[in-house]
Amino acid sequence: MQKKIVEFTNILRKAGVRVSVAETLDSFLALDEMTLDHRDQFKAALRCSMVKHSDDISTYDRLFDLFWSGFHDSLREQIKEALQGLGDIDIEALMEQLQSMLQNMDVDLSELAQALLTIDQNQLEQLIRQAGDETGIERIQNMLQIGFFSRRVLEQLGMTGASQELENLVEQLREQGMDEGELEKLQGLLKAVQDAMRKAVRQYTERELDKQNHDYIERFRQESLQEKSFYNLTEEDMRKMREVVDRLAQKLKNVVSIRRKRERKGKFDLKHTMRRNMSHDGVPFELMFKRRRKDRPKMVILCDISSSVANVSRFMLQFIYSLGEIFTKIRSYVFVAELGEVTEIFRDRDIYSAIDEALDGGGVINPYTRSNFGMAFHVFWRDHLATLDNRTTVVIIGDARNNYNDPRAWCLRDVHRKAKNVIWINPEAPGAWGFGDSVMDEYLPHTDVAEECRNLRQLSKLVDQLVL
């Protein structure tokens, strides 16, 4: 049983459900407390000890059925079909007759032959699983191997040998004077059961393939989502990415706040303690500690919202605002040629609709113009330079494709002088910077960090660096 569970755990893992070793052990302990004859209790016990994210429950349910019950049912289905196909012979009567004849005969049958003869479904299931384990069925990788592995399992089962044994048995029964009509029925029955067994083995192999593949499709989707270029996203991708960003941001927030907690326990603060304890006649009941507060950075974010860059801006905004409390202050601006502040929009609206509105110009700029970075920076320089100080990190998102306008790099130079950091996020690869109408090379000297960012993986790495 434990081996079976470990195998199941591996399949869950492959499907992207994280199950730790400790949790696998917990599931053993849980099962020790249970009687295993109720499938739904068994399912609940495994789940509550191994699957801790509600998103994973549907995956678990699917895999559970695939792993623990699917084959069980399909074997029974096959046998039922085979027996129905025989028309109306009285199987029970046949079995009884067989039973009584066998009692007076000296036959020695292998496990498999016995199970086939008595149509012992539990035993047959057991034997198939065992043979599967012994042939290493979990190595199956693609459709083309189904035939091969099915044959291997049948060999391991000793199917040919069992067939032979059963034929011999029929001969022996004939010698013992069993009625020809009955014998024919028996032969028909045995053949049907063996056919069903072969089909069941094939289905078993197919299921194994399903199990091994399930994950990989899912994982592939996940991974490709992280790698997928922001340039061409479907609605569905956008929705999923939004969730992924949410989760990443949440995780980051936890990491940061736990780290801050450690930093916060400071030195004993005598002055504060005295003041605090005046009411106790100066007897120091409450000890006060200095809080070493690490500077929370201020954040200014300039987003290019022209269509080529809009999605980078979208997910960056989602990151920044989800991380909100990590920064003391966030101010956000959008630009194409004009530049305008959209901080207010984020103040009293839910984040997603705020982002949509900001990317649509936020009512402060016209989004349907041709990009002009020089002009946008100039406006920022003229109206907002004063808001920067040496605790401010400025993040600029844009491709620096300036439509051959004047880049006015000196504006960015002044921004760089006043701010703590200037970080530029560009969806184009560095190889393209400075070519054609890209003026990235002129802005580059006035940045501290400039990175290519075309997909979620790159973006989340950047955000990571930004806050840690």
Partner: protein
């Protein structure tokens, strides 16, 4: 404690809590393995109630720690009882002067006081808060850490320590170890996701909105004497409404409130006007109400069509039923 999963189920049903196999299994394992349970799910599906009925079924005390933003260790564990400490200092004033007698410098005086300070920082002056109470209780208790997702991640880290070894350390007094390991339930609405470390410590239970049968059973449990037809009407409608894209999806509490409201109005089945007048019991936002009304009209015309198909001749004008859902 419970003998089996079935025993849990019947004990909780005895507390008027409609219990699925899944819930019963997790509760059973939690008591057997002495592991905390993290109960997640949307608002109002009976997470808090579950902890209450488990305590009720076992006849043990439930101690509740309600989490909120800014809850810190002190408020969860213990606080010093300053006024009592102060009172003692006042009363012991003479003694203190004796101790201080002959001390020439402030520093020396402070040193002498410091030598005595374990008198003031002893268990005598500790006011235990829920966590401490659950841990130091003579009897097994049920500790409910409610809405843990509202607490800060720092607090979660602290909880994790407590739930790992059931000891807490009070710097001035030493380590206090649990006399009885409490049964622990944590509930969360997923306002933020709990860390993997905490989740690893816990058994996990996800309670979703109930299916139709379960919700009917809950209404029958909680609103005795209600008309069966009314129950079915209510639940069917609520379940349909839940599938809409709403600002706030109605929970079991809202279903219960609605049923009680309709009982007071002496309704025995749902009629269009009645629904429209009382819709605000289950839905709080105007936009949601409008969406639900559209859905309602759809449901009604479907019902009417089904009815026409079923009983084409019988519906003479006098026998037209007023109920629109049947």
């Amino acid at each position: 404690m419970f003998e089996s999963v079935e025993a849990v189920q019947s004990a909780l049903e005895g507390q008027k809590y409609v219990t699925t196999k899944n819930i019963a299994t997790v509760v059973y394992l939690a008591t057997k393995l002495q592991k905390p349970v993290l109960v997640e799910g949307p608002a109002g599906v009976g997470k808090t109630e579950l902890a209450k009925v488990v305590a009720g079924a076992l006849g043990i005390e439930m101690i509740r720690l309600q989490c909120y933003e800014g809850l810190d260790e002190a408020k969860a564990l213990y606080e010093w009882e300053y006024s009592k400490q102060l009172l003692y200092t006042q009363m012991l004033r003479d003694k203190i002067s004796q101790v201080l007698e002959g001390a020439d410098t402030l520093k020396e005086a402070a040193n002498r006081i410091a030598q005595e300070d374990d008198i003031f920082f002893s268990e005598r002056f500790i006011v235990p808060r829920p966590l401490m109470r659950a841990i130091t209780s003579d009897k097994t208790t049920l500790l409910l850490i409610d809405e843990v997702d509202k607490s800060d991640p720092e607090f979660e880290a602290f909880l994790l320590e407590v739930l790992s070894d059931y000891t807490v350390s009070v710097p001035e007094v030493g380590t206090i170890r649990a006399r009885n390991i409490p049964i622990v339930f944590l509930t969360s609405n997923n306002a933020r996701e709990m860390t993997d470390a905490l989740k690893r410590r816990c058994l996990h239970l996800y309670i979703d909105f109930p299916d139709l049968e379960t919700e009917v059973a809950i209404l029958n449990q909680k609103v005795p004497g209600i008309e069966q037809r009314l129950v079915e009407d209510i639940v069917e409608l609520v379940q349909r409404v839940r599938n809409l894209d709403l600002k706030k999806t109605p929970s079991i509490s809202e279903t219960l409130d609605w049923a009680r409201a309709l009982m007071t109005l002496n309704a025995d089945s749902l009629e269009k006007d009645l629904i429209e007048q009382t819709m605000n019991v289950i839905l709080k936002h105007q936009g949601d109400i409008e969406k639900a009304q559209t859905e309602l009209s759809k449901l009604l015309s479907e019902k009417a069509a089904a009815q026409r198909a079923q009983e084409p001749v019988q519906s003479t004008p006098t026998s037209i039923k007023k109920s629109v859902l049947h």
